[in-house]
């Protein structure tokens, strides 16, 4: 931007840019579909306690493995518990873990990535190489080991999945930081004697954070998948709390006689990830002008 532009002009430019982005987003039908699916699922998850027709923990030994009916829309499980109610509550747990662990990965990944990109040299090298090492383990494999080391439970699962996401965000933050540190506003800040911490938090992070936040929505899908994988292996939030992965696992043995158990929980997981992925795709089209045509 030339030196003569005023702050007001810059603001107007920013606003135009934002409305152009919003228009691109709204024109993209796929992203609308994704946004609608995601929004609906989030609302269902938030209000799951009230939407659930039955108590998720109430057992009924006379109605085990009943097929879908008017009273139990998705049938009952091996303890006679209502599957629909359990799917709704499981959805809330999946989304909670997904969002919180992504936030965790975003915050710590951004810190590590910007520090590595800003200082470069030995510090940067050590940070980024250790991120490479972590990423050379498949997420599922490392996740299993971390959960074993931490133990299970909602918070521990969230931390485990968050740890897996840190290197991804560190890489995303690292690359733009390398170029921002050479920008005039950073160099002049340095010349004025600003401290590194202040430069990082006031100039570097704000410039990359919006892009990172958009990428973060994409990773919520991955986080949900990792949580589902872990709870399918029996390492998630322990029973009797319903988690979607756990419900799929409980249904596998009865897949031939009571397929609704695994299928309803499995489709719920898929729908969450699909909604988030579709939304993320739309967001990426909007923020990455290179992909636009």
């Amino acid at each position: 931007m030339p030196d003569t532009t005023t702050a007001a002009q810059q603001d107007a430019g920013k606003r135009r840019n934002a409305s152009r982005r919003l228009r691109t987003f709204l024109k993209n039908r796929t992203s609308i579909v994704g946004a609608v699916i995601t929004l609906l699922l989030v609302l269902v998850a938030v209000f799951s306690q009230w939407l659930a027709p039955h108590d998720v923990l109430k057992q009924d030994v006379f109605n085990r493995f009943t097929s879908p009916s008017a009273d139990h829309l998705l049938g009952t499980d091996g303890y006679g518990r209502d599957v629909l109610s359990r799917v709704l509550v499981g959805l809330r747990i999946s989304l909670t873990v997904g969002v919180l662990s992504t936030a965790l990965g975003l915050v710590f990944g951004t810190i590590l990535g910007t520090v590595a990109g800003y200082y470069r040299g030995r510090v940067g090298e050590v940070i980024m190489r250790s991120m490479d090492v972590v990423m050379s383990f498949p997420g599922e494999v490392l996740g299993v080991v971390i959960v074993i080391a931490l133990g299970s439970g909602l918070w521990k699962i969230t931390i485990a999945v968050g740890l897996l996401l840190i290197p991804r965000f560190a890489r995303l933050a690292y690359v733009p930081t390398l170029s921002i540190r050479e920008e005039a506003f950073v160099l002049s800040g340095k010349a004025l004697g600003m401290r590194d911490l202040r430069l990082l938090t006031m100039h570097v992070v704000p410039n990359i954070f919006s892009e990172l936040l958009v990428m973060a929505t994409l990773w919520v899908g991955t986080a949900v998948r990792l949580e589902a994988n872990l709870s399918f292996l029996g390492l998630g939030v322990p029973p009797p709390t319903p988690t979607l992965g756990n419900m799929v696992r409980e249904g596998v043995d009865r897949i031939a006689v009571a397929p609704w158990l695994s299928l309803s929980a499995g489709f719920a997981i898929m729908l969450v990830i699909l909604g988030i992925n579709t939304l993320g795709d739309g967001l990426r089209d909007v923020t990455d002008p290179k992909l636009q045509v």
Binding site: F137, A228, L233, G245, V248, I255, S262, G266, M270
Partner: protein, 313 residues
């Protein structure tokens, strides 16, 4: 070329060393104690102490580490803490099953993913493109264990075409292949979705490139433009990205092995976790990470072969 390959190989060695070390210490960070797990909750202090001594867990951790590393250099993963069996033979057997699965999955993924990626790119914004993109988005969103269960329902329970569990009789090729097909398809369909997406976007980036327009305006036939000008260039980035997705493939294989009860690395990992068998765990972890490094190395080498611009020096 040979120097390029060996240099690349040399660069992978420090990464592998770090990974093996990390596996060793990570496993030992787990809170519970293998001696306790083996003897049960009611064992006396003294019995547990004796068992720890027998398992070699009372040795300083650095001694254990040096023992492990020097064994590894001789290709020996040591003995299981639980049953004292040598790990290397069972690890090799498990690795064979996992390699069969991942390679077959990768083969199906390339077979399905690349053509559909090219097709959707050439049919851009037409019905085929929308269909292909929707399908690949759905494929990306399927957790591998759930897709596996759906395919078991379809192929084994409803159609009765393929066996559900296990890896087939050793040495009987048709039995192995019949047991391999559904799990490999599970992995392959998911991986194909990734490959179709990257193929589509790399082909799209190229169809509007100057040299493609030049070729067309020279009157080069469309088929030749696609295969010679576009595909040869697209192949490089596609193969590179396939290497990056190896992590997804191998992570997926863990889940698929559990669903289909295949005796691969995944089952060995879970089994080792249940008994807190440190030596088995650290070995399986190291092999998993080694697989990822190997896949990346292979794709780098393939790119080196087909792309003359890669620096060999």
């Amino acid at each position: 070329m040979l120097t390029y390959a060996s240099r690349r190989l040399l660069l992978a060695i420090p990464l592998l060393l770090v990974v093996v070390t990390l596996s060793f210490f990570l496993v030992r960070a787990a809170p519970s104690d293998p001696a306790q797990v083996r003897l049960g909750a009611y064992a006396s202090e003294a019995a547990i102490e004796a068992m720890r001594e027998e398992m070699g867990l009372n040795q300083p951790i650095w001694n254990q580490y040096i023992d492990y590393m020097s064994g590894l250099l001789r290709g020996d993963f040591g003995r299981s803490l639980v049953n004292q069996q040598r790990i290397t033979p069972s690890l090799t057997r498990a690795l064979v099953h996992t390699l069969q699965l991942t390679l077959a999955g990768m083969f199906l993924a390339v077979l399905l993913g690349i053509p559909s990626g090219v097709w959707t790119a050439l049919e851009r914004n037409r019905p085929i493109d929308y269909l292909g993109r929707t399908l690949s988005l759905i494929g990306l969103s399927f957790p591998s264990f759930f897709l596996g269960i759906l395919l078991i329902l379809l192929f084994s329970i409803w159609l009765g075409l393929f066996p559900v569990v296990g890896a087939g009789q050793a040495g009987n090729l048709s039995s192995i292949l019949r047991h391999l097909f559904v799990p490999a398809l599970t992995l392959g369909l998911i991986q194909a979705s990734y490959i179709a997406r990257v193929t589509r976007s790399s082909v799209l980036n190229l169809v509007s490139a100057d040299f493609v327009r030049t070729a067309r305006s020279k009157g080069v036939r469309e088929r030749k433009v696609v295969f010679k000008h576009v595909m040869r260039n697209a192949a490089i980035s596609i193969i590179g990205l396939i290497g990056l997705y190896a992590v997804v493939l191998i992570g997926g294989s863990l889940m698929v092995e559990i669903v289909f009860a295949r005796p691969g690395l995944g089952r060995m990992l879970i089994g080792g976790l249940e008994s807190r068998d440190y030596t088995v765990l650290q070995s399986v972890l190291a092999v998993y990470a080694g697989l990822v490094v190997l896949f990346n190395l292979l794709t780098d080498l393939v790119v080196g072969v087909i792309d003359p611009r890669v620096e060999y020096a």
